[in-house]
């Protein structure tokens, strides 16, 4: 945890560096969207940059980098697990599961 004034002063420099990184990340996302590779690759690149930006916000601005409270890490772990289920569940609907069970994946 950030205790002394000197610690916080050091953090301020980190905050400004993160701001720079987030601004660059935003510019990169926009620039990348104008370079068309394929929809799949473009979307993947956009999501990877967004994830890096979000991680920076969570780690530095939300102080998770310095967080030692185990209860918070458990909350986040469980939350992340359910979030992944939420996001990947609809992708499963693109597979015809009953048919595949009968005829195999490529049948």
């Amino acid at each position: 945890m950030a205790g002394s004034h000197a610690d916080v002063r050091k953090h301020v420099r980190t905050y400004l560096m993160v701001f720079g990184a987030l601004a660059v990340g935003t510019a990169l996302t926009v620039a990348a969207s104008y370079v068309h590779i394929s929809t799949g690759w473009n979307n993947a690149i956009a999501l990877v940059i967004a994830s890096v930006k979000a991680s920076l916000v969570a780690a530095i601005f939300m102080h998770l980098k310095w967080e030692r409270g185990v209860s918070i890490w458990w909350t986040l772990l469980i939350c992340a697990a359910f979030f992944l289920v939420l996001i990947f569940l609809p992708v499963l609907t693109t597979f015809d599961l009953p048919r595949q069970a009968q005829h195999g994946m490529w049948g």
Partner: protein, 201 residues
């Protein structure tokens, strides 16, 4: 405040390892992840099952305006965390300026959203009933905008009447600002995903 005060507002709770306001805020944010997660899940479901999904040449969402608002929110996150850092360094006057700046930036975001995005889209007939994309667009950005309004209310409270707590119990006040910041950074974090998903993908 009443004679009975909340326990563990400043010092970590022996079992959870953090002051209770912080754990409460994180639990709330976890529920928020589920709320937005359900809508992102709907987005994935509608998109993977759609025969055609409009690109930004069809939706006419303005990338420059979206980029501008993204930067506004990022700067507001910096001012929010600087407000907390200033309190940690005992600079209350500075912290108030940072809080005020955060509110102003939040208002800029909302006004840009309303006057340069919602209103022109609405007039062109791009309303929630126009397509699955616009139904999702209004639901996701609308819920996000409600969170911005909520943030403005909370930050304004701590800027004006709530700031009396600084004189009474500065550490408690600093922690409450940290929790407000956690929420505010989360709202920024949601937008970091909303922007590419709706404007660029």
């Amino acid at each position: 405040m009443s004679a009975e005060t909340l326990p563990y507002t400043v010092h970590p709770h022996p079992i959870t390892g953090v002051y209770s306001g912080k754990l409460g805020t994180w639990l709330f944010l976890a529920s928020e992840v589920m709320l937005f997660g359900a809508l992102f899940s709907s987005y994935v479901l509608l998109r993977v099952s759609a025969a055609h999904w409009p690109g930004h040449d069809e939706t006419h969402l303005s990338v420059p305006i979206g980029t501008f608002n993204t930067l506004v929110l990022i700067v507001s996150s910096v001012t929010m965390v600087m407000a907390w850092a200033s309190l940690k360094m005992n600079e209350f006057a500075k912290a108030r300026w940072y809080l005020a700046a955060t509110v102003v930036l939040a208002l800029v975001f909302l006004l840009v959203k309303l006057f340069f995005e919602y209103m022109p889209k609405w007039e062109h007939g791009h309303r929630p009933g126009f397509s699955s994309f616009f139904a999702l667009y209004y639901t996701l950005t609308g819920l996000h905008a409600l969170h911005i309004i909520g943030g403005i209310i909370v930050i304004t409270y701590f800027l004006l009447p709530g700031s009396a707590l600084w004189k009474k119990d500065p550490e408690y006040y600093t922690n409450r600002i940290e929790c407000t910041g956690l929420y505010w950074h989360f709202v920024d974090l949601v937008w970091i995903f909303l922007f590419p998903v709706l404007y660029l993908m």
